[in-house]
Every structure is written in structure tokens, then in C-alpha cells.
């Protein structure tokens, strides 16, 4: 398809949609806004230090190296580790891949990979791929709120286990896992087992201190902390050995060749710094917005279910609700026409027939998963934004339900 073939229908679609008068962006799971200071830092980086390659021996190279190093120190301070322990990738997905695939390369005896059943696909898919190379993948079940079954974990961890990977905060339903308990169970069995946590959704939402958490590997993503896209990082605890999974000319990092995306890393670092500095206020604010949104939806719309835990064991930004008798993808399009941008766990939003594996793992039925909406509030939203969403949602749900041949029993909203 040529450029003009593709651009015309998109153009028409956007025009036909029209620009809503008011917009509330709640799709921070997929990506979202960038903190203005981070954007300025990127702009500065491109103009002042973005020219050079950080491993080349001339002035521009050294200036680039300096900029990269300062950005790294900033991130290391925020998560309490050494700058040497941070490996940059270009996304959280790549960081998760490096953790799983990179550890498997060196393993000749340990052939078991243990992940939770609700991990991000960038953990599950690399693990499943390794099954082809003789590894055994164990998926630890979770309860109805998404908490890992620790007894099951304990039964399955053994001397054969290479790595255990559980996200500190689940990306879809916001469950905050007890990573320290998981770490202790694993280390009590065998201190040689690697412990990885996907911390992409944890950074800026729960306290994160690498020394206290004491895991071996942790993944981070820039756009999940309102930094730019195109930057991610893997914390690799000093002494932990991984193999690179991408090969080529090294720059400043042994585990990820090719030039670092320095301007994006600088923006990432600025976003981390700001989220770290304002951590307490941000969490308080997001928690307030989250509670208002969850309670508002559950109180005003019938046949709704909250996915994930209530209260303090839920990430402060996460709202995930199933609207029964209401297909989620249609609801996201309906809300888009009202300027509200969200995502859904419906099969229709992906390339497969099955809905979100996370929702199925917590015991939701298919029809409950198809009707789910995922919304993530940010510290940059206002109560007015949430009220706008609460005003628009009942009508949107009512309209999508009115299209269906199967109507909700009893009271229709």
C-alpha cells in the first residue's frame, strides 16, 4: 500500500470523528502525556548534547557521555542503586526480554522459569519461547484479586529454577504484590535463583528502593512515568551475569549494543526525578481520583465489577471495571467520540480471539473480560476530569447495551 492509499482513509476517519470539545486521556496503560520539564530536557539534549556518540573520543562524544551519565545518576538516586547497575533499553518490553532471555543464555543446568499467570506479555512470551529450547515454564496462579499464590510458588521453586519473575504492580488490575515475601520464599529454597520484577507500573506508584527490595533484576519504562517513549531500563544487581540478546557494536553498555537514545533517556531521567520528588503528593492525589472514579462507576452503573483489589493493595492510578452486557471495544470507541480515551481487555482490541489473560486468570468469565475498561489516572488529572468521565459513562454504557440482543436482567441503567 502506498503512502497516499493509507493516509486518505485515516484522514477521513479522523475528520469524521471530529475533535471533541473536552478531552480526558486515561489510557496511560498504553502510553500518555509527557511531563513538560521532561520534554524541555529532551529539547535541550538534542540541541546541546545530542549530537555526539557517547563512546567516541572527541569533545562531542565526551559531552554526550557526560549527559548520559548524569541522567543515569539521577535514576540511580531515585531507585537507590548504583549507576553501574542500570542498563538502558528502548522500552519496558525490551527490558523484560533482556531479563528472561538474557538469563537463560548462561544457564546449562537450571531449566525452569517461574512467572505469575498475570505477567505482562513481554515476560510471558519470551518465557514461552524458551520452552522450545528445553526450558519448562511454570505459571503461578493468582487469587480473585490477582495476588500470587505463595504456597504454589513455594511448592514449585527448586534447584532447577533459573528465574522467578513477578511484577511488583500488575499493569492491568493494579495488584501490588508482596515482592519481599516472594523473594524470601525463593531465596529460602535456593540462593542461586534469579529474582526479577517488572517494575514498569510500580515506579512512581509505590516506594521502590532496590537495596531494600533486594531483587536481582527490575524493569522500568520511561513512558509509564510520563517520560518520553523510546526509553526503558533494566536494573541488574551488581554481580548478576546476563548475556546480551541483541548483538552489534557496543556503545557504553555491555548488555545492550547500539547507540543509546540519549535525549529520550535524559527525558526519562527528568520524569523519574520529578515523580520521585513529588512521590507522596502524587500518590495521595491519584488515590483520591481513583477512589472517586471507582465509587462513582460502581454506584451509578448496574452490572459492573471491579477487577483487582479494593483499597491500599491497589496501585493508586489503576481503575479496571467490567461492564456486563456491554462490549468493551465498542465502549472505547463510544467514549472516544466524547473525548475520553481508555482501553479495554476485550478480545476485539487485540489480534486474537481471546480477551485479556489477566482477567481470565483472576477468574473472570469471557463475557466479563470482553466488557472491561482500563483507565489510569495521573497526578496531572483534576477532579473535574473525573467528574466529566462519570457524567459521560452511564450514557455511553446505556447506548452500547441498547445495541445488544442480550439485555441486562431487571433494571437497565
Amino acid at each position: 500500500m502506498t503512502y497516499s492509499d493509507l493516509s486518505k482513509p485515516i484522514d477521513e476517519l479522523i475528520k469524521s470523528h471530529g475533535l471533541p470539545e473536552r478531552e480526558v486521556y486515561l489510557d496511560h496503560e498504553n502510553s500518555g502525556l509527557i511531563i513538560p520539564e521532561a520534554l524541555r530536557a529532551i529539547d535541550d539534549a538534542y540541541r546541546l548534547s545530542g549530537k555526539g556518540h557517547p563512546s567516541i573520543t572527541h569533545l562531542m562524544g565526551w559531552i554526550s557521555y557526560q549527559a548520559l551519565y548524569e541522567a543515569t545518576v539521577n535514576i540511580a538516586l531515585a531507585i537507590n542503586c548504583s549507576p553501574e547497575e542500570i542498563v538502558y533499553t528502548h522500552s519496558g518490553t525490551e527490558a523484560n526480554n533482556l531479563a528472561i532471555m538474557g538469563s537463560s543464555e548462561l544457564s546449562s543446568k537450571r531449566k525452569k522459569i517461574i512467572v505469575s499467570s498475570i505477567e505482562h506479555l513481554s515476560v510471558i512470551f519470551p518465557a514461552e519461547r524458551l520452552e522450545k529450547h528445553g526450558f519448562k515454564v511454570i505459571k503461578v496462579p493468582v487469587d480473585g484479586e490477582g495476588f500470587v499464590n505463595l504456597d504454589f510458588l513455594s511448592e514449585h521453586v527448586d534447584k532447577e529454577t533459573l528465574i522467578v519473575s513477578v511484577a511488583a504492580v500488575n499493569h492491568e488490575i493494579g495488584t501490588i504484590q508482596d515482592i519481599k515475601a516472594i523473594r524470601d520464599i525463593v531465596r529460602d529454597k535456593d540462593e542461586g535463583i534469579l529474582i526479577h520484577t517488572d517494575a514498569c507500573d510500580a515506579l512512581g506508584r509505590i516506594p521502590l528502593d532496590m537495596k531494600k527490595l533486594d531483587v536481582d533484576l527490575a524493569s522500568f519504562s520511561s513512558h509509564k512515568v510520563y517520560g518520553p517513549k523510546g526509553a526503558g531500563a533494566l536494573y541488574v544487581r551488581e554481580g548478576i551475569k546476563l548475556e546480551p540478546i541483541v548483538h552489534g557494536q557496543l556503545s557504553t553498555q555491555k548488555l545492550w549494543p547500539g547507540i543509546e537514545n540519549i535525549p529520550s533517556i535524559i527525558g526519562f531521567s527528568k520524569a523519574v526525578e520529578i515523580m520521585h520528588r513529588n512521590f507522596k503528593e502524587n500518590v495521595l492525589k491519584m488515590t483520591g481520583l481513583r477512589e472517586r472514579l471507582i465509587n462513582g462507576i460502581l454506584n451509578s452503573i448496574d452490572h459492573t465489577l471491579l477487577n483487582g483489589p479494593f483499597g491500599h493493595k491497589r496501585a493508586p492510578d489503576n481503575v479496571n471495571v467490567s461492564f456486563l452486557y456491554c462490549e468493551g471495544e465498542a465502549l472505547t470507541v463510544e467514549l472516544s467520540t466524547k473525548g475520553i480515551y481508555v482501553s479495554s481487555g476485550s478480545a476485539c482490541t487485540s489480534r486474537v480471539l481471546e480477551p485479556s489473560h489477566v482477567l481470565l486468570a483472576i477468574g473472570r468469565k469471557y463475557e466479563e473480560a470482553h466488557g472491561s475498561l482500563l483507565m489510569k489516572v495521573s497526578p496531572f488529572h483534576t477532579t473535574l476530569d473525573v467528574e466529566y468521565v462519570l457524567d459521560a459513562l452511564p450514557g455511553a454504557v446505556r447506548r452500547i447495551r441498547s445495541l445488544s440482543p442480550i439485555k441486562p436482567p431487571r433494571k437497565v441503567i
Binding site: 476517519l13 469524521s16 506479555l121 481487555g345 476485539c348 489477566v358 481470565l360 440482543p405
Partner: protein, 166 residues
């Protein structure tokens, strides 16, 4: 939720999603059928009012539980068959539906398939207690098979999910 691949619809899909034509149940339909299921996340009901003498479709309506493309596919199909005789309506393929919508993206082909599957089911239902015309095949067509397969697959998957969930 992962819901993640951006899908570009044609503007026709968005228009019909916002203002569907022929939406709603038909109380005096003389043929109707349902395809898909809530578990599939994809379900279309087609209602037909057929002139028994001419075998022309005088009115058609639909209801849909599904994504925007599913709603648009069902709606456009009801537009396409109004005024047609049953034999011509039978000939409409999922690709015709897709073309009429300005071309569905590949991941949404099954929306067109399900719409056509439900229409053909309704036409078969109409002939259930009437003498069958020559043009009506004994064998299920591709679209009808797809609807059946989807329903069966989801039944199996849903049962499996219930078994494995704690």
C-alpha cells in the same frame, strides 16, 4: 488489556457505529437468527420481514453485541438486503460487506463473516418449514461454518477457563 494493536477503521464504520441504520428488534419478523455468543464477544441478531409471495425482504433489522466493526457490518448488511429477494441476499459474501464498509482491516474480517453467517442462518430458518428452493445449498457455507466454529471454540475455551481459574 491489553488491547493494544491500533485498528484503523474506515469512516463508514465510525458513521454506522454512531448512527446505526435498522437497529433494534423486529416484533413481526418472519425469519430471525442469532450468531456468535457473549463469550465470543461477538454476537449478531438478524430479523427479516419477508413477503411470502415474492420472497423479497421488505424489512431487515439487527442487534449486535460486539466491536464498532461488528455493529457497522450488521447495520450495512441490513441496508444491502432490503428490497432484495432471498436468493440475491443469500449471495452476499463477507467480502461484499467488507467492501461496502470501505474495506475492513484483516483482524476485523470475522465481523463481516459473522454478519453474513447470521443472515444465512435466518434465511435457512425461513425455509425450515417451507419447501426449500434449489439455490439453497444443503452444505453449510464458509460464513455459516465460521460462525459455528467460533461458537464451539468459545464454549470449549470458556469451560477450560472456568476449570483452571481458582
Amino acid at each position: 488489556m491489553s488491547s493494544r494493536v491500533p485498528l484503523t477503521y474506515g469512516k463508514k464504520v465510525l458513521e454506522l457505529f454512531r448512527n446505526p441504520k435498522n437497529l433494534g428488534r423486529m416484533e413481526d419478523a418472519n425469519a430471525e437468527a442469532l450468531a456468535g455468543s457473549l463469550a465470543c464477544g461477538d454476537m449478531i441478531a438478524i430479523y427479516l420481514k419477508i413477503n411470502e409471495l415474492t420472497e423479497k425482504i421488505v424489512d431487515a433489522k439487527f442487534e449486535s453485541y460486539g466491536c464498532a466493526a461488528n455493529i457497522a457490518a450488521a447495520s450495512i448488511l441490513t441496508e444491502m438486503i432490503k428490497g432484495k429477494n432471498l436468493q440475491d441476499a443469500w449471495k452476499i459474501s463477507w467480502r461484499d460487506v467488507s467492501n461496502e464498509l470501505g474495506g475492513l482491516p484483516p483482524v476485523k474480517y470475522h465481523c463481516g463473516v459473522l454478519a453474513v453467517g447470521s443472515l444465512r442462518r435466518a434465511i435457512r430458518a425461513y425455509y425450515a418449514n417451507r419447501s426449500k428452493p434449489d439455490w439453497l445449498p444443503e452444505e453449510f457455507t464458509q460464513e455459516e461454518k465460521h460462525a459455528l466454529e467460533e461458537e464451539k471454540l468459545m464454549e470449549t475455551l470458556a469451560k477450560r477457563a472456568q476449570r483452571t481459574a481458582l
